[in-house]
């Protein structure tokens, strides 16, 4: 009898980009729900507007580039970029913030570099950095987490804040934040835990004094720890579905955790410990959803470890000594820049060839 001999490739990709992106979106649900629970309706508006803008921008870019539109829109990459950007910015930031960010992410960072699969930088993070350095005030106005400060503005007040910057009774976002703060005993400016910590340490307080604030009940800051835990859950789902490999999250969290541990041993009074670094800010979102972007990350497994460890170390350095409280976006962009070099030096050995050959 004769066997059917198939020609190569013998290894088939089980899933299309569309399937992968759907699973990523599904995996983000717990994190988004946690953010909704702690920070109110804002996130829903941000997501809606971000996705709409992303699809519109993507369509316009595809028309301008004379590419097939349906196929590209159905692979959900634009939606994933929009969702990543929407969950990164403060829930009640004015509507034009997310529009500017999404248009830049899709139009400039993605399509000017050649569209899906060709972008050097992570589009969502490049958009985030554009917003952060252009509009620092709006981009750092986070609401206090909900069970710190009582009820958030309701659906209609949030909607009004989102579009007009004022609630129906005429309070501005800052006034709303102040009202929420005054319900707390402390009169410090409300900020994210990392932001607060940075300010307090800069004012000369020790770590334990800075942590002596109601928002630090729990392991890493009220609200934020649960948001991070939810993203961790979603990330583990991605791992289980084999959408991502363990290398990038492990390298990322390992390097960040190791640096945090070293810091806590060397200077326990001024450097926050491992729990704060791993469970506040965008650590888990970054490790599982942002750094794992298959296009802008390194390719080989060894490369992924190096790439992710670089991000982890950079996050620690920027968080500790840099000017901004959180650093995932900057670290990811800097590591994206290093990817071509990392890929060059971590090429896997071709079967039957030695590594030291002149083939490179």
């Amino acid at each position: 009898m004769s066997f059917f001999i198939a020609s190569s490739p013998h290894h088939h990709q089980r899933r299309t980009t569309q399937d992968l992106m759907r699973i990523v979106l599904l995996a983000m649900v717990p994190g988004v729900l946690a953010q909704f629970y702690f920070f109110g309706w804002g996130i829903a508006f941000q997501l809606t507007l971000a996705i709409a803008t992303a699809i519109l921008t993507e369509t316009l870019c595809l028309i301008a580039r004379e590419r097939p539109i349906r196929q590209a829109l159905q692979d959900y990459t634009a939606v994933v970029t929009a969702v990543l950007l929407a969950v990164s910015i403060p829930p009640l930031a004015p509507w034009w913030i997310i529009v500017v960010g999404t248009v830049f992410s899709i139009g400039v960072v993605k399509h000017l570099f050649g569209g899906v699969g060709h972008n050097v930088f992570n589009p969502a993070m490049a958009g985030y950095v554009l917003l952060l350095i252009s509009f620092p005030v709006q981009m750092t106005s986070w609401m206090p987490a909900v069970n710190l400060a009582g009820a958030h503005p309701g659906f209609f007040d949030s909607l009004a804040l989102f579009f007009t910057q004022y609630t129906s009774e005429g309070f501005s976002l800052n006034q709303v934040r102040l009202v929420e703060q005054s319900s707390m005993l402390d009169a410090v400016v409300m900020a994210t835990p990392l932001d607060h910590l940075k300010t307090e340490l800069a004012r000369g307080f020790t770590l334990s004094e800075a942590l002596n604030h109601p928002m630090f009940s729990g392991i890493a800051g009220m609200g934020w720890q649960w948001v991070n835990a939810a993203y961790l859950l979603g990330g583990l789902f991605l791992l289980q579905q084999r959408v991502i490999t363990w290398h990038i999250p492990a390298g990322f969290l390992g390097a960040l955790g190791f640096c945090a541990m070293l810091g806590a041993i060397i200077a326990p009074d001024t450097l926050p410990g491992i729990n704060l670094h791993l469970f506040s800010g965008a650590a888990m979102l970054g490790a599982f959803f942002i750094a794992t972007d298959p296009v802008s990350a390194a390719t080989s497994n060894r490369g992924k470890l190096i790439y992710a460890a670089l991000i982890g170390v950079l996050i620690y350095v920027i968080r500790t000594w840099g000017g901004y409280p959180d650093a995932v976006a900057f670290a990811v962009l800097l590591a994206n820049l290093c990817v071509p070099v990392i890929d060059q030096y971590t090429r896997p050995r071709t079967y039957g060839h030695s590594t030291g050959g002149s083939s490179s």
Binding site: V108, I133, F135, V137
Partner: protein, 233 residues
């Protein structure tokens, strides 16, 4: 090639075909660093223009006596002399702008566009042609500076020619144009990344225009052939 034709060629090269900023990508350091406003851009553009004309003429005049082996140091000394002249002049007459541009005035010495012209053109051509070449090249460079400066100033501040009095004297205060009132200006445009992104868009725009003209030129001969028949009368 007749002289007129050569001057035409020089003009076209300096302003468009071989523009020092858009095509040769020379002198990017000052180009990106000082184009936050039109005034700064114009100031540095004019300073570079003066230096370029002066150095081109001088290099062209001494080209017979400079041995090939030491031409680069000689060029650099010539350029540095003119930069010092311009720097002292700006210090005396436009002090505010002198302070605003800071280190980037002395750094004109290291602007590759200038030594590039000295090496590629002035050291091989008579002085009047070298002077004209320096003028159009400097003009091309200055125009790109001003364009980028305008782009960044409008996006970052919503104004044009803000602070023109630093360069042109007190009367120029009225030149300031307020185009848009931003509640939240796009800070990025004023910061260094904005310079890189804006420059990228300017180069892209030039390439688009070039492609458009090329396509048009490719269609043009057909029309010409039709118009050629005029012998009937």
């Amino acid at each position: 090639m007749s002289d007129v034709q050569e001057y035409k060629e020089l003009t076209k090269n300096g302003l468009w075909e071989n523009n020092p900023a858009l095509v040769q990508l020379l002198g990017l350091c000052p180009l990106l660093a000082v184009t936050g406003t039109v005034t700064n851009a114009l100031g540095l553009g004019l300073a570079t223009l003066l230096v370029l004309v002066g150095s081109n003429v001088t290099v062209s005049l001494v080209r017979q006596w400079v041995p090939n082996e030491i031409r680069i140091p000689v060029f650099v000394i010539v350029i540095a002399t003119f930069v010092t002249l311009v720097e002292l002049t700006m210090n005396a007459f436009t002090y505010g702008l002198y302070m605003a541009l800071g280190i980037f005035i002395p750094l004109i010495v290291t602007n590759c566009a200038i030594i590039g012209r000295a090496e590629a053109y002035a050291s091989k051509n008579p002085w009047h042609k070298a002077a004209y070449d320096g003028f159009v090249m400097g003009l091309g460079f200055a125009l790109v500076l001003v364009a980028l400066g305008a782009l960044r100033e409008v996006l970052g501040q919503g104004t044009l020619l803000d602070g023109a009095e630093l360069l042109l004297g007190q009367w120029a205060t009225s030149l300031r144009i307020e185009l848009i009132q931003f509640d939240y200006p796009l800070l990025l445009a004023v910061l260094p990344p904005g310079a890189f992104i804006g420059m990228g868009f300017l180069i892209a725009l030039k390439n688009v225009i070039d492609r458009y003209r090329k396509e048009k030129a490719a269609q043009a001969p057909v029309e010409k052939a039709q118009r050629a028949r005029v012998t009937a009368q």
